[in-house]
Symmetry: C2
Subunit: 564 residues, 2 copies
């Protein structure tokens, strides 16, 4: 008995600390080869500035090096499997972090690859979690708020310091030499496909709708990027950036081009293999986790990304606080909705590294030790309540200058109690996002979780189920982002006519379900009312509530005294 | 050249974990002998109940044992000094913790000394920091609030769970057998002089005005203890307690009696030595620190006691939130004003033991390590702000069911930053007390600090000076309580005609001054405005502010889930 020859797709997932290459069989999504390439620069791939905790950059050379080594080795691993052959690779898909814009020269080469700028932090990739541009974000928000085109209507009403234009404007002001040398700014999600295909001319390289729509205020409703007069009102030099940006932006099931001779040789694949347009890791991860209307996909790691899709046939209102509602950004042909929490695992890591006492850190993994003790505490027992804002709040408040809060401490409050309160706080944050979606008519029928914490932390996931009062499913693949990228590679390579039909074959059902426990859910419903009050009082500017300024005033005093 | 024979007084200071005996020269207060006797029962002298964190009791046998051994050894030490002789001991003064009522039998013998009650926690001394009676305190507050005699006007408007009647009423309800067996309840400050003199009949043993006025709602204005109808409205059985209570209550410069034969033999002193009426440790400590009108004396240890005196010639308004305003309670002939913070050192100890990571605890004293690192952080730099309520708030809110709060955390907040924020929070609490006194016309011209933290922690005291914007003096004697007790012994023994004249000879000027630093004071003035907002919003019931219930709701949920 003979069968049709197998076909394969490669998914490339550029994360914060490493790049993963995954080779899958397009028939069923099964993995035949994989490799993770770590970034060699900075602190686990992140360039930091000890004098500015807001700064986070990456060396573009790490992307290129990581790309070469991870694909080469993933292919080498695949070759050891029966039925694989490099001639059977039909497509490559790419996902990356974002918004991670890179200043490039006239040829689309990152400035940081030039000797002149090699050590200049402003010339590197501005990593998604860089918050140096908070003043510019506030300025853009203020200017856009009153604009007749309502540029912020699709991204929750607030423009973020993490996003494209904030970072470019901050570069102009803080590093004018780099700004002047940058011919264009290219999102990492667009840079990688351009680099793979050799089509790096800034004027023509494919700009993905995902990065454009969620981070650069791109929308067909107002003719693509914000208008030239609007950008000029921020800074006249931004107009040139707009003119060197290919429109229209395209969804990720389209082909960006074929693999270039040069890259093909370096990674051991045939030249010409179709490369799909890039998109953000979370969005492709959502596809790899089986996103469809009614299914919320949460990627839970250091932070979270929460995604839904909605059919474009029905009207969808603007939803305050969402990072974005972009047609075609997740699944082509549907609205892509993105929300997120700016810190989840990062908060647990912070506690474990800064405040966990010796008994929990001396032996074994502090998180395991703390979780084991925290698991024994019943909901409500500690009397503690926290706000999950150590890194600000993305959805629904869209305010990076919010900070953490812990209340309820006594003289016997223990480290596992605080740890549990922090986990609960992130779960309350997750529930706040679900509630916001439902308040605006987007029913959440199902929650599928992926990412490191969903994979590895039953303690956290059980609390999420209890707090949200919903089953928490865990996605089947532990590599949903790379799988999602491979799905887009398969579609771009012609194996499927649509992302949905590819999902039906390549995404398997969830692997595990955490179910809410009635008693816990009842207590958490009470605690959530208190969380919501703290959330609204410290986070919103409702005049009946007097404390919205406290965190901001503390930050102002902190910044001033630090610079004195 | 010959000089007048020297004369000596003994001060006995019954603290939370030990009793200190101090022998001083009445001419100048200099120490000639001292000994500390530890209590042998429970956890460093405190009997705990793991199932009820509010419970704190003491074994009365520890007081007696500690009294014998400490005096015997202090006298033995004094005997090695030239000029000392036991016949030259002219008086004994006693201070103790309080309110620490002890249930006694018809002869004034503690019930706990009877075999039947030896292991019964309710039959022991109810230590000052026992909070089991919070429901009864609330009931007394509610009943007294509407009473025409205004019983709470002199103790800040709120009756505390730490105080005499709350504890007795709670015993009636929770341990009726002990209540029924108790003929009377005697404050430790009254029990010790009674025991020393053998005058233990509950009907006649001297009740000090200090304990009576500050803890038992005793005031000449309404005829001593609260009226029989009022007590009966709480519980008819309280009436008998009132009838077995000697009136009028007396100040501590009066003689309670002479040292009994029995005790004299056991401690190695002549029988008949005058013993002064007892008072609370903090109050005699204030005398030992040189309290006088305009001078605030702060005893800073696990908690604080803040005391002032005011001349009785001028009218003094009731001051909301003060633990008490009692004529003659500190210095006979003056108003004694008492305020306090329910946790200071206890908060630092909590943090060091529960949340300080390994680098600060592995080697050396955690407090020293944390202070060294925290000292390098400038005011405002951490962006943190805390409320010092881990053990509730005594002055000015008088609410044991308040809890701690920390706000401003980021992902890089460090343990020394939190430690510093907690120290600053206690300083803000200290300033709130000073402000309250001054708002009601009691000018604070001078602050003298004593107690363990004032003695040993320059880091904390500098922050207090900076936050309060005032010089913080450190009292000359490190044993102000025992010295104060000795001063009362000297006055009762006839060496001086008044406490003030004894102070002039026996109390030396302060030993050290921490001066406020301008730049720090300016930043703290800003931070204090924010502290005050958190304080008022979480701590008061002003209807414009919506969060006063948050801590209470968390406690209610905690208590319920703990008991489920």
């Amino acid at each position: 008995m003979t069968s049709a020859p197998r076909r394969f797709a490669v998914g490339l997932d550029f994360g914060t600390n490493s790049v993963r290459a995954l080779v899958v069989d397009v028939a069923d999504g099964s993995e035949v080869g994989a490799h993770v390439g770590e970034y060699s620069s900075g602190d686990a791939g992140v360039l930091l500035n000890p004098r500015d905790p807001n700064l986070a950059r990456q060396n573009p050379a790490d992307y290129i090096e990581g790309l070469y080594s991870s694909v080469r080795r993933a292919i080498a691993a695949a070759k050891r499997k029966r039925g694989f052959g490099i001639e059977r690779v039909i497509g490559i898909g790419v996902d990356t972090t974002g918004s991670t814009p890179i200043p490039v020269d006239r040829d689309g080469v990152p400035l940081a690859l030039h000797a002149e700028f090699r050590r200049d932090l402003a010339a590197q990739a501005w990593l998604w979690k860089d918050h140096t541009a908070h003043a510019e974000a506030a300025e853009i928000t203020a200017k856009a708020a009153g604009h007749p085109d309502r540029y912020l209507a699709k991204c929750g009403g607030v423009y973020s310091s993490e996003w494209y234009w904030s970072k470019i404007l901050h570069c102009k002001r803080s590093a004018p030499k780099v700004f002047a040398a940058a011919y264009s700014w290219v999102e990492l999600a667009d840079f990688v496909p351009a680099f793979l295909t050799g089509k790096t001319d800034p004027h023509t390289l494919a700009r993905g709708i995902c990065a454009a729509g969620h981070k650069a205020m791109y929308h067909d409703g107002w003719g693509g990027l914000p208008s030239e007069p609007f950008l000029a009102s921020l800074d006249p030099d931004l107009v040139a950036i707009r003119r060197r940006y290919a429109a229209p932006a395209v969804p990720a099931d389209r082909k960006a081009g074929g693999l270039s001779e040069d890259v093909a040789r370096k990674v051991g694949l045939p030249a010409g293999v179709p490369v799909a347009v890039g998109a953000f890791d979370a969005h492709m991860g959502a596809v790899g986790a089986g996103i469809k209307p009614g299914t919320l996909v949460k990627i839970i790691g250091t932070s979270t990304c929460d995604m839904m899709v909605a059919p474009m046939e029905e009207p969808l209102p603007d939803i305050p606080g969402l990072c974005g509602i972009v047609p075609g950004s997740v699944v082509p042909g549907m609205y892509g909705l993105e929300a997120g929490q700016s810190a989840v695992g990062d908060i647990f890591n912070w506690f474990a590294s800064q405040l966990a006492p010796q008994p929990y850190t001396a032996k074994g993994d502090p998180h395991t030790n703390l979780s084991r003790a925290a698991e024994k505490i019943r909901p409500g027992q500690s009397g503690l309540l926290a706000l999950d804002w150590n890194n600000g709040n993305r959805t629904v408040l869209v305010d990076p200058r919010l900070t953490g809060l812990l209340v309820g401490q006594t003289l016997s409050t223990s480290a596992p109690e605080v740890y549990r309160a922090l986990v609960e706080a992130t779960a309350f944050g997750a529930l706040t996002i679900i509630n916001r979606l439902e308040e605006y008519g987007v029913a959440v029928k199902d929650v599928v979780n992926c990412g490191g914490i969903a994979e590895k932390n039953p303690f956290v996931m059980q609390i999420y189920a209890d707090v949200c009062g919903r089953p928490m499913k865990i996605s089947h693949s532990p590599q949903t982002c790379a799988l999602g990228a491979a799905i887009f590679g398969a579609v771009a390579g012609g194996a499927y006519r649509s992302v949905q039909s590819a999902q039906r074959k390549m995404v398997k059902a969830h692997r595990k379900v955490y179910r809410p426990r009635k008693a816990a859910t009842a207590v958490y419903a009470e605690l959530y009312q208190l969380y919501k009050q703290l959330h609204d009082t410290f986070g919103t500017h409702d005049h009946a509530q007097a404390l919205a300024h406290v965190m901001k005033s503390l930050i102002a005093i902190r910044d001033r005294t630090r610079s004195e």
